[in-house]
Symmetry: C2
Subunit: 187 residues, 2 copies
DNA sequence: AAAAATTTGTGCTAAATATCACACGCTGAA
DNA sequence: TTCAGCGTGTGATATTTAGCACAAATTTTT
């Protein structure tokens, strides 16, 4: 059976088994339990995680204590604070497990190394970065254009599984509305 | 005197004069007048523009006819619809000149070619893509966290020149508030 | 310079959303 | 089982923002 990470990378770039083995040798496996964190505000994100199993959130707190969710993470997604990871600067955000998680991670150093050693991976990450940018662009578009109700419906349509796995108050934080307003959107 | 594009690229990657000459040979110059467009909804963005002089907006219309601004462009910035450019798909957005503009552009084909011919440029664009992503991330953060007034103040602080060059109603469209609300934010 | 179009400010009203309060059901720990 | 804590729905009210109307100021065009 094909390794799920190989399958994931091959959506962008074809790999021989040797190449994948080489890539995988730059990763480590880690398990985390619900409520544990991967990254806390103020730390430098020195790892990028690939989610084998589980569900996570990247988020931050407003001064008032209100929580805002930047990104959810589920199986086959990557998660880290890219600003902190790319610039190797202090992170503004936190990343927590919403469920028990199984993760693969690559350190900043290993990623730099792998990028240099293997041009295919440079191309893979470049493409991933481009697609990540497009996704963010579209989220901004949606925040500008769509009403709360519309954003709710779009998210439900795009990630129906998410609604079965995470509390609605987190969905509200992601959409940028209060939990009470979210609760009233369906009526 | 150093070419401004060379100066711009060298903020990320050092170049010899020969290298820059080679890079520049992949670009063309174009002038556009105020109100002329670079890209219209439905077209495929086959060029990426570097702004030598002038001011532009990338934007789209809601069904209701409301205009939303995704990005402003000024001297030394790049502008295109990256979703359309990267995927070579039909664009959802328009790009117009707000002032008379002088631009350098590289076609999709030339950029692909240059990326392959010159590894330095692959690294340059990879880095630019990463930073672009970070900027979008921070805009989302700001849309979630900050009030209209705060977003206004932040923009004013970051791009004071913009306020002297573009009408306030466009600033409002960028911030995601109505022009009336923007007009009342200062009081 | 005159005319036309655009931009901006502001009063008024309606709509959307936040906030506070409280009730109820579910879950996990003692 | 019992109890505390969390998640969720919902009423009441306050706040924010949008939308419309219109006038004044500014810019652009002729």
């Amino acid at each position: 059976m094909k390794h799920p990470l190989k399958q994931h990378i091959e959506e962008i770039i074809k790999l021989t088994d040797e190449e994948f083995k080489f890539i995988l040798s730059h990763f480590e496996t880690i398990k985390k339990r619900k409520h544990q964190y991967l990254l806390q505000k103020g730390e430098i994100a020195d790892k990028e995680y690939w989610i084998v199993k589980g569900c996570l959130k990247s988020y931050f707190f407003e001064e008032s204590g209100k929580e805002h969710i930047l990104q959810f993470g589920m199986e086959n997604w990557w998660i880290t604070d890219y600003e902190s990871f790319v610039k190797q600067s202090k992170s503004k955000i936190n990343i927590d497990c919403i469920e028990d998680c199984e993760l693969l991670y690559i350190t900043f150093e290993n990623r730099e190394k792998l990028t240099k050693e293997m041009h295919k991976m440079e191309r893979f990450w470049a493409k991933k970065s481009k697609f990540g940018r497009i996704a963010l662009q579209n989220r901004i578009l949606s925040l500008l254009k769509n009403s709360s109700k519309e954003r709710y419906d779009l998210l439900l349509e795009q990630y129906p599984k998410l609604f079965q796995r995470v509390p609605k108050k987190l969905i509200a934080s992601y959409l940028g509305v209060s939990r009470e307003t979210l609760s009233r959107l369906n009526s």
